[in-house]
């Protein structure tokens, strides 16, 4: 039975990936960051099948010990502060954890488990303010916030450990991917959760930033399959993963509210305080390489994704246990 180590098991991607790998017969070791309040609600249903451990990406020796103890065959490095916008508030910490933390982990892998396959969770934030649209694996990187810069450093270190030290290390450059397990501070989840609250009379309005901001949004459950597929390839390579289609925040709202029989225009207020300097209009994936080499395609379309998220929020808000 192969062993997979997932760093960031508590997050959206970590929990879907754990379910997928358990289904494939893996022993799954889940790693969470120490010293941070972590909710295991995303993995509550599979908790008994997981081996849990915790650590600190600033602690090189601790990372080595973790690898030595569990001897993973596959390592999925999904642990990172995940919000580009919040990264301005703790720049050094983000650099130390998301950037240097990956370098420490790669070095620990090289020392302890050099035959393990390593997946680095890269992000479309690497492209930032992109020089071409859509973006593929050869598009130059232009990060524009400390999160993107730290992730870019982690990406290049992953490439270096592959090309120089010979690790099977890949970087998956994933565009926005959402799900009912998305954190509440992300715009998609904020919309579906608040829409459901409005439907139930628990909220009156939804304040958002620029409604015309566009994103390439996919379903997280599809994206974790691509992660796994990358580690099953004969050669380690980097891949861009996304739908190739963008939608606006307005379109997201329209679908979310209409799924509840509501008109978003009656509830959504555009609030300047949520406007961001960084416009992501140009971030669109060209995932042709993943399609051709991995046979990967997104299965859940935009409408189904929004619908799934709204219905989930409606259900948890009306369920007696979670109320």
């Amino acid at each position: 039975m192969p062993t997979a180590l997932i760093l960031g098991i508590d997050g959206q991607d970590g929990s879907y990936l754990a379910e997928w790998l358990l289904g494939k017969g893996y022993r799954v070791v889940g790693w969470t960051p120490q010293n941070i309040a972590v909710s295991l609600s995303n993995v509550a249903q599979i908790l008994e099948h997981l081996t849990l451990t915790s650590g600190d990406l600033r602690d090189f020796d601790g990372l080595r010990e973790c690898l030595a103890r569990y001897q993973p065959d596959e390592i999925y490095h999904l642990a990172s502060p995940s919000s580009p916008y919040k990264s301005w508030q703790a720049t050094v910490e983000v650099g130390d954890i998301a950037g240097l933390g990956t370098a420490r982990l790669l070095e620990a892998v090289r020392r302890e488990t050099p035959n393990a396959r390593f997946y680095q969770a890269s992000s479309s934030e690497l492209f930032g303010d992109p020089s071409e649209v859509p973006q593929n694996e050869n598009t130059p990187f232009r990060p524009r916030n400390p999160y993107g810069i730290s992730k870019l450093y982690a990406h290049w270190m992953t490439v270096r450990y592959r090309q120089h030290y010979g690790l099977f290390a890949v970087s998956g450059i994933l565009y926005n991917h959402e799900s009912p397990r998305r954190g509440m501070d992300f715009v998609t989840r904020k919309i579906t959760h608040t829409a459901a609250q409005i439907k139930l009379g628990m909220a009156q309005e939804l304040r958002l930033g620029n409604l015309d901001a566009r994103r390439d949004w996919g379903y997280a459950g599809d994206y974790i399959v691509a992660m796994w597929q990358m580690l099953q390839q004969p050669e380690a390579e980097d891949f861009v993963i996304g739908t190739g289609v963008t939608h606006s925040v307005r379109q997201f709202c329209e679908l979310a509210f209409s799924a509840l029989g509501l008109d978003y225009r009656d509830f959504v207020v555009q609030d300047e305080q949520f406007f961001r300097k960084e416009d992501t209009a140009q971030l669109v994936a060209d995932a042709r390489k993943a399609r051709e080499k991995l046979g990967w395609r997104p299965k859940v379309g935009f409408e189904s994704l929004v619908h799934m998220m709204v219905m989930h929020d409606l259900r948890i808000l009306t369920s007696p246990e979670t109320r």
């Binding site: 650099g95 370098a103 420490r104 270190m157 090309q163």
Partner: protein, 355 residues
């Protein structure tokens, strides 16, 4: 009187920059690491130089690039007008043995310093020592719009620092500049760098103390300039009317083999009689061809190199010979007197070399 803070002041660039700024009347503060051994040989002569007057306005402070709080206090108490961040783990090959340390000092260290400037509220202008190594395998010639393809942990760390510098400029309005400097050498170059390794060994050979020189890849091509010219570019960037990024180089690329031709030829020797190839010195991922297109610096900063490849080799060979107690052919002194001679003088060369 302007006040400057230089990190990495004991290094090649830091020492030349300190000399330049002192000659311009700056009060210069240098940050040095607290360590059981540290080498101030490159700046010791500054205190003895009569050109600097009775009172040399050069002050050293212990500092730690790994501690943001300490840096905030230092910057707040000094209130510098200009900060030149030259401190780094600067050796490419060493970065393969110490990737995390390199990332911490070279990458995150820059972020700590920028964060310290921001937190202190001091309106200092900031210079980041970016490197042509960031271009890596990108096709030559490289300019400010060339996409980066870093090939070493050192280059990845420098690239992190480059983007963070741009970010703090754009996000916080700090006057922060990247000087993307191509290789720049001098008699003060550390002896593990190939140019200095060659001129030092050549002097030893001439003195009869050595008869073999072991080198790695002779075909790697670099754009080699003269460090004192490059520190002048750093200063110009911080005097410009807006913060920006600039490529600095000579626009000529030469191989290690050509460096050997020039150096040994200058003293009438054939390097083939002394040089042996040792694969251990091959870099793990070799960056093959770095060549600067410094058009922007020429146009906007009115910067040009004064010392090119052949003259650079002569300056370095002469200085290493003098240091070894030999009488050099002397072209190096003439070159400096012709092109510099003001703040940068021949007399300061041999005495300030790494021992």
């Amino acid at each position: 009187m302007k006040k400057a803070l230089i990190t990495g002041i004991t290094g090649q660039d830091g020492s030349y920059l300190a000399e330049l700024l002192l000659s311009k009347g700056y009060e210069v503060h240098g940050l040095i690491r607290r360590a059981s051994t540290f080498n101030t040989s490159r700046i010791d002569h500054i205190y003895r130089d009569p050109h600097n007057g009775e009172q040399v306005k050069l002050y050293l402070h212990y500092g730690d690039m790994a501690n943001t709080g300490h840096l905030v206090d230092l910057i707040y108490s000094l209130q510098p007008d200009e900060v030149y961040h030259l401190a780094a783990q600067s050796h490419v090959r060493v970065s393969f043995d110490m990737p995390e340390y390199t990332g911490d000092i070279t990458g995150l260290g820059t972020l700590r310093l920028l964060e310290a400037i921001r937190k202190s509220g001091v309106k200092a202008r900031f210079y980041q020592a970016s490197s042509s190594e960031m271009f890596g395998s990108a096709p030559a010639p490289q300019n400010e719009t060339t996409p980066f393809m870093p090939q070493s942990p050192y280059a990845a760390a420098k690239l992190f620092a480059y983007w963070i510098t741009r970010n703090y400029r754009q996000g916080y309005g700090i006057f922060a500049c990247n000087g993307i400097l191509f290789n720049h050498e001098s008699p003060r170059r550390g002896e593990t760098f190939v140019t200095r390794k060659i001129t030092r060994a050549l002097a030893s050979i001439l003195a009869g103390k050595q008869n073999k020189l072991y080198l790695g890849n002779l075909e790697a091509k670099r754009d080699w300039g003269y460090a004192p010219d490059y520190v002048a570019a750093m200063w110009k960037m911080l005097q410009y009317d807006r913060p920006d990024d600039f490529v600095i180089g000579t626009g000529e690329a030469h191989s290690v083999r050509e460096f050997l031709d020039e150096a040994f030829g200058y003293v009438g020797l054939d390097w083939h009689d002394y040089v042996e190839i040792d694969p251990r010195y091959f870099r793990p991922t070799e960056v093959d061809f770095l060549l600067a297109d410094a058009t922007k610096a020429s146009r906007e900063l009115d910067w040009q190199p004064r010392v090119y490849f052949k003259d650079l080799v002569r300056v370095m060979v002469d200085a290493d010979m003098e240091r070894m107690g030999l009488v050099p052919p002397g072209e190096g002194r003439r070159i400096l007197e012709k092109h510099h001679g003001n703040w940068h003088r021949w007399e300061d060369q041999a005495v300030s070399m790494e021992r």
